[in-house]
């Protein structure tokens, strides 16, 4: 996933402030002593386990887990858990433990066709006092009682108590991390500085429980984790993006995205496929094409989303079909963004290939400030 970040704040109407963010045009705040953030540079290799952890010297960072679950009665559920870290420009000299130098934001969503729409919740806090943090060295993020922790053996433990449900999941890797693009240096636009560090952990085996309405259900499934950090901004011409990450049944993993310009044109695109044996195929922007097949109009926001998408990578044609049409996240009350993010089934050249998550942003208004 490519994604969000930047623009935080305020419209803190009823709940918390969240932010939303596309890497975008710089905030023009003039602070006493704005911190200098590190830049994403090509050729710097990712090192593990250090890079599983946080990179507070970069402006934005997120850990993003999506996946398909199966309930005991064989019903499918989609889930999404995201932890963001956003560095602010608050003066680094402030010794206060409350100084909001880093903000942590988390979103969670559960997609159940029986409900007909997403169940969602979100939280945000400043980092500090042991209440919210993203630690360096290994994945260890916490926001109140929501957390995601990578254990020594590489397993992830996460627990999220949302308003309408609770997720407690354990994710076990079956493959090595998939370094996107050029060994984890992932370009996001025509300019060389429009890039992030980006790796994924596809084909995670999920075991855990989902509690809804006081009823606990054991679930299992397959998930996808993205970890991405950057400082630079989205291309000014960008209006939004479409992104998919899919675990294929044969053990391979597909990730593709395109960044759309204001006129609907393709500003940038990318696709990477890694098969079960670890062979990696990378597609250049001109080899990747997104083509809407069917649209759905949101009754909540009136936005129209191409919920069925045809993606061509080289000679291969992929078709994404949503688990349910209404997987729109409307966080205008709390955050400042509306996007569609949902579970999809994937076919390759007409045949069922696997399941994944599809994200579409910028269909309501440009995600820029």
């Amino acid at each position: 996933m490519i994604f969000k970040l930047k623009s935080l704040l305020t419209r803190s109407l009823n709940f918390f402030v969240t932010f939303f963010v596309v890497t975008c045009v710089v905030a023009t705040c003039v602070f006493a002593a704005p911190p200098r953030f590190s830049q994403v540079i090509q050729g710097v290799p990712l090192t593990f386990p250090h890079d599983f952890g946080a990179h507070p010297e970069f402006r934005n960072e997120w850990w993003y887990v999506t996946g398909w679950l199966e309930t005991p009665d064989k019903k499918p559920l989609g889930f999404q858990i995201t932890f963001f870290r956003v560095a602010t420009e608050h003066d680094r000299a402030n010794p206060s433990r409350f100084a909001p130098k880093q903000l942590i934001i988390a979103h969670v969503a559960l997609s159940d066709p029986a409900v007909g729409k997403l169940l969602q919740d979100q939280k945000s806090a400043r980092e500090g006092l042991g209440l919210a943090y993203t630690k360096e060295g290994n994945t260890d993020v916490k926001l109140g009682d929501w957390y995601m922790l990578r254990e020594e053996n590489g397993h992830y433990q996460t627990s999220i108590k949302a308003d309408d449900f609770t997720l407690r999941l354990s994710l076990a890797p079956t493959q090595a991390p998939m370094l996107q693009d050029d060994n984890g240096f992932s370009r996001k636009g025509p300019q060389p500085e429009q890039a992030s560090y980006y790796y994924s952990e596809p084909q995670l085996q999920v075991m855990g429980t989902v509690i809804r309405n006081g009823k606990e259900a054991a679930v299992k499934g397959v998930a996808w984790l993205d970890h991405e950090w950057s400082t630079a901004y989205l291309d000014p011409a960008a209006e939004g993006w479409d992104w998919v990450g899919a675990n294929l049944d044969d053990g391979s993993a597909l990730m593709a995205f395109q960044i759309r310009g204001k006129d609907g044109s393709k500003v940038w695109a990318y696709a990477g496929i890694r098969d079960a044996s670890g062979r990696f195929t990378l597609f250049e922007p001109e080899q990747v094409t997104f083509a809407p097949q069917r649209t759905w109009r949101s009754p909540h926001t009136n936005a129209t989303y191409p919920v069925e998408m045809r993606i061509q990578t080289g000679a291969t044609v992929w078709l994404l079909t949503p688990l349910q049409d209404d997987q729109e996240l409307d966080s205008r009350q709390s955050a400042d963004a509306v996007y569609w993010e949902g579970a999809v089934t994937v076919t390759r050249d007409g045949k069922h290939a696997g399941r994944g998550y599809f994200e579409m942003t910028g269909y309501v208004k440009p995600l820029t400030l």
């Binding site: 704040l9 305020t10 608050h90 010794p95 909001p100 903000l103 400030l369």
Partner: protein, 851 residues
């Protein structure tokens, strides 16, 4: 039909009297209702403003001092039953600039964590500029309420200078708090930025808690209190405690104001009594005739009560309308403060309060009915046959002159003075005042008869023959033999004069005591402080050293004052640390006699000296061992003595600065008292101190200035009292004028007879003036005596019980004498004016009326 005819007939004939009674009732009701409306509006607004600062929290945890260590916050935030913990750092920050113009001006600044405050108190979230959203977390950004912007004359984007100790910091106004309450002057910043900019790293003022849905608040509170007791001294409070604290803050003042309104109503009662009594007496023949013609007692009783009720209803309704208008006007122009200084920085709006309106209406009506009851009963029970005869008027009133009720009132009044306060309020003190007043007035006819009978033969004997002596004899005879009418005429003015005397003595005693106290507590030549109040950091040890080494200083005493909350339902007390002369604390403090001799104090024990309020409110009696939550574990002290404090009615404690610094580690001070070497003037000293690096933020005062300012504030806070007194006296005088004129008309026959036996009009008028003067003199003397007694209650019971301070009695002779003379003269004039009309008629016709 008959009843309307009777009513209108009577009113047409005695419009002035009816009007005076109505005005009295109206003014009483209006005053009461105004004070009630203003107080309610101010109190509600103040509570709402205070509540808006704590949002929708269920509980609040704070320390006894202004701030406490933030380490408590993560523990509470992760507590099992806590859904949300909202950390708040609240500071009152001084505004630099013209110190005299903005004396004591501070801006309340709340340091908040927006991620939590936006849930707990969404109205306190600032709105930044569209392109500067991050300002909400900015390290130099502050959001101001519209009222604060207006008050400071700034707008979004402007810099804002604030004082931190001797330093000035500059923040940027990043936006407004659009949803702050109207009139509320506050600023909001990020809590981390607040800690940093105001040098409060690691400190919080309070943590607000929202509990998990379905939690048992009381049980959680008890458990949390127990849990926190192991970590230090913390107070777990509910919103109700905060309301109670605010209510406690102004309660004594509000109750006392309401009592003044009651005084006005009380005076009104006597005016109604006198109006109704005279009117009934005048119409004695009329009523007797009606009885003979077949009107029953019950009907007559109803008729007279109905007349009273109409007066009362009109008066009360007019009073309510007037009260509402006055309250609205006062709130609009002066705010809700009423001179008490409790409700500043809020802008309350008047709201019609139907319940209170009904209450005051009933009160006004009830009082009129009460005033009409005795005359009505007398008229209804009178035997028609003798009543038809002339000259029975005074006999009719003689029933009112039984001494027993009066004596009973006096006795119970004296008994009430011995009773303790109820709910911290001097209820029995006020009841005693009411009883003494009623008793005094009820006994007035007896007394006047006694005194004038005694005078009458004496005057007749001494100077026989002269016209003057005849006039005096006649006047005295009249007063001695028909005392009831006279007394009734006087009751209203007696009530108001008595209360005026009492209030005047009380205020004078208070003022003299405050003045003496100020002289005592300001022994130094020059005082200096940094910024005006509370949370300012004050002077650092280095700055203290620099100050003390300025040449020309003979001695310098530094002091540190801070707030300490001992009981969450009471306002904080003041803790003042300064060097105190152990061998004779009276050298430093205005001690009362209540103290332990220094020699008897245990060696090495730390001692404190408490204000009188501490004894009343917290039971800190001399010799008692107490602990104060100023360090962990709480150190214990021995109460060494009690000092007088007119500045802080909620309590204050003084302790040695050295003890304070050793216990708390707080090395800052707020104030310094300077004694200068011989030959050094305060002006020279100020000049040399101004040249210190931090000199320009020092604020100097000479004792004289402080005294003048304090007395000015004192007078301002009593302004409303003076006003109410004046109103009461004016009502009383109106009553005197009205009843004299009524009496004079009723005595037309008598004047006709006097003309027949050779008296000139002039002489009759002279007689009337003498009568009026004598009567008023008696009333004044009596009023003075009663007033003095009541002032004793005010000074020695009501004040200590409401405000927890004692004072010496002082009498403002000059003012009282002047008021008495004015009163006597105006009463004589009123009698004269009334008489002029009565004697203007034909003497023969006047006599003929008497069949």
């Amino acid at each position: 039909m008959l009843s309307r005819w009777l009513l209108l007939g009577e009113w047409k004939a005695h419009l002035v009297q009816a009007a005076v009674a109505i005005i009295a009732i109206a003014l009483g009701v209006a005053l009461g209702y105004t004070i009630h409306l203003i107080n309610t509006a101010a109190f509600n607004e103040f509570s709402a403003a205070a509540r808006s600062l704590s949002g929708q929290s269920d509980l609040e945890v704070r320390g006894p001092r202004a701030t406490f260590d933030e380490s408590l916050y993560p523990m509470l935030a992760q507590h099992d039953h806590v859904e949300l913990a909202n950390p708040v750092l609240e500071l009152d920050v001084a505004i630099p600039g013209n110190l005299h113009e903005r004396r004591d001006a501070t801006l309340k600044i709340l340091g908040l964590d927006i991620f939590r405050a936006s849930v707990m108190a969404p109205d306190l979230i600032g709105i930044p500029a569209e392109d500067k959203l991050f300002d909400i977390l900015g390290d130099d950004a502050i959001f101001l309420s519209p009222a604060a912007m207006e008050w400071l004359g700034v707008k979004q984007g402007d810099p804002l200078q604030l004082r931190v100790g001797t330093q000035t910091i500059t923040l940027r106004i990043a936006g407004s708090l659009r949803r702050a309450r109207a009139g509320q002057r506050i600023g909001v910043m990020d809590v981390g930025a607040t800690q940093w900019r105001f040098q409060r790293i690691g400190q919080l003022s309070r943590i607000e808690l929202k509990l998990m849905p379905g939690s048992d608040r009381a049980a959680f509170k008890a458990a949390l209190e127990q849990e926190l007791a192991q970590r230090g001294q913390y107070l777990v409070t509910e919103t109700a405690d905060q309301e109670a604290r605010i209510a406690n803050m102004s309660r004594a003042y509000r109750v006392n104001l309401n009592m003044l309104a009651m005084v006005a109503l009380f005076t009104g009662t006597f005016l109604v009594l006198s109006t109704q009594a005279l009117s009934v007496v005048r119409r004695r023949h009329q009523f007797a005739l009606l009885r003979v013609l077949g009107l029953t007692r019950g009907q007559l009783l109803k008729q007279i009560l109905f007349e009273g009720a109409v007066l009362g209803a009109i008066g009360s309704l007019a009073g309510l309308a007037l009260g509402y208008v006055t309250a609205a006007t006062a709130l609009h122009y002066f705010g809700g403060d009423l001179g008490g200084g409790f409700f500043t920085a809020v802008k309350p709006e008047v709201r019609f309060d139907p319940l209170a309106a009904i209450l005051f209406f009933i009160l006004g009506l009830g009082i009129t009915l009460l005033g009409s009851a005795a005359p009505a009963w007398e008229a209804a029970t009178a035997n028609p046959a003798p009543a038809l005869k002339s000259g029975s008027e005074d006999a009719a009133l003689s029933k009112l002159a039984t001494p027993w009720p009066g004596l009973l009132c006096l006795a119970s009044g004296i008994l009430f003075t011995q009773l303790p306060p109820v709910f911290d309020l001097p209820i029995f003190g006020y009841l005693a005042i009411a009883q003494l007043l009623t008793g005094g007035i009820v006994l007035m006819p007896r007394l006047s008869a006694l005194i004038f009978s005694a005078l009458s033969p004496a005057s007749a004997k001494r100077k026989p023959g002269t016209v003057a002596s005849i006039l005096a004899t006649l006047s005295l005879a009249r007063l001695a033999n028909a005392p009831n009418q006279a007394a009734i005429a006087l009751s209203g003015v007696l009530a108001s004069f008595t209360l005026m005397v009492a209030m005047a003595i009380m205020v004078a005693s208070f003022r003299v005591s405050v003045d003496d106290w100020l002289k005592h507590i300001l022994p130094a030549d020059l005082y200096l402080r940094t910024a005006t109040s509370g949370d300012a950091r004050g002077l650092t040890p280095d700055e203290m050293k620099a100050l003390a080494s300025v040449p020309g200083i003979a001695r310098v005493d530094f002091s540190r004052s801070s707030q300490l909350m001992l009981d969450p339902s009471r306002p904080s007390i003041a803790l003042i640390a300064r060097p105190i002369d152990m061998s004779d604390p009276g050298n430093t403090l205005p001690m009362t006699d209540d103290a332990i001799a220094p020699a008897l104090l245990p060696r090495n024990a730390m001692v404190i000296w408490v204000s009188e309020a501490m004894v009343d409110l917290y039971g800190y009696t001399p010799g008692k061992q107490v602990t104060l939550p100023i360090a962990v574990p709480a150190p214990s002290f021995i109460v060494a003595g009690v000092w007088r404090d007119y500045g802080r009615q909620f309590g204050a404690i003084q302790m040695q600065l050295a003890d304070y610094q050793a216990l708390t580690g707080d090395r800052h001070v707020n104030d310094a008292a300077l004694w200068l070497q011989k030959g050094v003037t305060p002006e020279q000293m100020m000049k040399s101190m101004k040249s210190l690096p931090f000199g320009n933020v020092l604020e100097f005062s000479e004792p004289g200035q402080i005294r003048a300012l304090s007395l000015k504030i004192f007078d301002r806070s009593f302004a409303i009292t003076y006003l109410l007194e004046g109103v009461a006296v004016i009502i009383g005088l109106l009553g005197v004028a009205a009843s004299f004129s009524a009496q004079a008309l009723a005595r037309t026959k008598e004047f006709g007879m006097l003309r027949h036996i050779g008296m000139t009009r002039r002489q009759i008028l002279g007689m009337l003036a003498v009568e009026g003067g004598l009567l008023t003199t008696l009333g004044t003397v009596l009023g003075f005596t009663l007033g003095w007694c009541i002032s004793l209650i005010l000074v020695f019971i009501v004040n200590p019980q409401s405000f927890h301070w004692t004072m010496q009695l002082s009498l403002p002779w000059k003012g009282l004498l002047a008021a008495a003379l004015v009163l006597i003269a105006s009463a004589a004039m009123a009698a004269l004016a009334a008489g002029r009309r009565a004697v203007s008629g034909n003497a023969i016709r006047a006599v003929r009326e008497d069949w």
